[in-house]
């Protein structure tokens, strides 16, 4: 991979981490605050259904997770396993697309 692309991917992982930290704090603290008598699908749907703000939040949250996690896995594969180079790129790409698809599908599904 070209040095410039590699450097920009490195930057993308750092920037996505910054957003992910904020997103994870909002996501987890909301769960802790909002849970009343157990975590139920009905309660979650009641909170986020039709909410543009929550839709925007989870679209961004899923997107940065889809960037950060696979890039980290790609580094681990390259450094620690025989799966390197193009093979590691492919694994990261598939994982990233998968996380994005599942995350956005869930976000749009809850929005309604």
């Amino acid at each position: 991979m070209k040095v410039r692309t590699e450097t920009l991917l490195w930057l993308a992982q750092r920037l996505s981490a910054m957003v992910l930290v904020v997103g994870a704090i909002v996501h987890v603290s909301t769960n802790i605050y909002a849970v009343r008598g157990g975590l139920t699908a009905a309660e979650i749907i009641d909170r986020v259904h039709g909410s543009t703000a929550w839709l925007a939040f989870y679209l961004v949250f899923a997107a940065v997770a889809a960037i950060h996690g696979p890039l980290g896995l790609r580094t681990v594969l390259n450094e620690m396993t025989p799966v390197r180079g193009r093979a590691a790129d492919l694994v990261a790409l598939v994982l990233g697309v998968g996380i994005l698809w599942l995350g956005w599908r869930a976000a749009f599904g809850l929005f309604g």
Partner: protein, 261 residues
């Protein structure tokens, strides 16, 4: 006093009454790596003298016990960077490391530097280490025209201060041997070469930074550093290669965003 060796008992040759510094004689069990990559540790029993360095111990064994022992040293005063070895599991410059600082239960285990090919006994081939300095564009690149006057670089300028903080590297290879990334990625340039590149990056007279940044970015360069700071912990000159590498990370990102990589 006597020296106990696996194959021979040899007269120490030290002055009677040699001590470990507190008025008593201390026996030292020294295990030294012998052979090449597939060698083994061999034990030597000697008497510890006052203020003895690890290099003194190795030299004593080579001169009085087993003259076939191979090791490398030159200045003996911490300037040349020739005598680095692995002492009780840690990379160190042996000429400035007193035995009393590192001895554990009367034992010293001395091995060649890790991460480099063993030539014989305690001597390693430093070729790969210095080739990486070349790959990191660790040589000064002059500008296109002949300089007509001395370059005036203020000692207080920010760039000169960054150079000052990193320039005293003696090329001993201690940081390289201590680096985990080096241990799992043969192509990784390593802290010393990247530290060198950082000093040149901040040299206002140098004209080779675009190529240098391209050389030190990517999987084999600064972006692979995990910032675990083993290099900082063990550098005998108390330099901070991790900070130099962090500077290169910022510089490469800026260059990538500006389309200069």
């Amino acid at each position: 006093m006597s020296v106990v060796h696996p194959v021979a008992t040899v007269a120490n040759g030290g002055a009677p009454g040699s001590t470990g510094g507190d008025g008593t004689n201390h026996k030292l069990d020294v295990s030294i790596w012998r052979g090449g990559k597939n060698g083994r540790f061999v034990s030597y029993g000697i008497t510890l003298r006052e203020s003895q360095t690890v290099l003194d111990v190795v030299t004593y064994i080579q001169r009085h016990v087993d003259s076939t022992l191979s090791y490398r040293f030159s200045c003996r005063v911490g300037m040349c960077g020739s005598c680095a070895m692995t002492v009780n599991g840690v990379s160190r410059w042996t000429c400035r490391t007193h035995v009393s600082e590192v001895v554990k239960d009367g034992r010293l285990e001395i091995a060649p530097l890790s991460g480099l090919e063993v030539v014989k006994d305690l001597s390693v081939d430093m070729t790969g280490f210095f080739e990486k300095w070349t790959r990191a564009k660790g040589a000064f690149v002059p500008g296109p025209g002949p300089s007509r006057d001395f370059a005036v670089v203020s000692p207080d300028s920010p760039q000169r201060r960054k150079v000052d903080a990193a320039i005293e590297c003696i090329g001993c290879g201690v940081c390289y041997a201590a680096c985990d990334v080096v241990s799992w990625n043969d192509d990784y340039l390593g802290p010393a070469a990247l530290n060198r590149a950082w000093t040149l990056y901040n040299d206002v007279r140098d004209a080779g930074n675009d190529k240098r940044l391209a050389a030190v970015a990517g999987n084999v360069g600064c972006l692979s550093c995990h910032s675990q700071q083993s290099c900082v912990k063990w550098c005998p000159k108390h330099l901070n290669p991790t900070a130099s590498i962090a500077g290169l990370k910022r510089a490469t990102v800026k260059a990538a965003l500006a389309g200069r990589l």
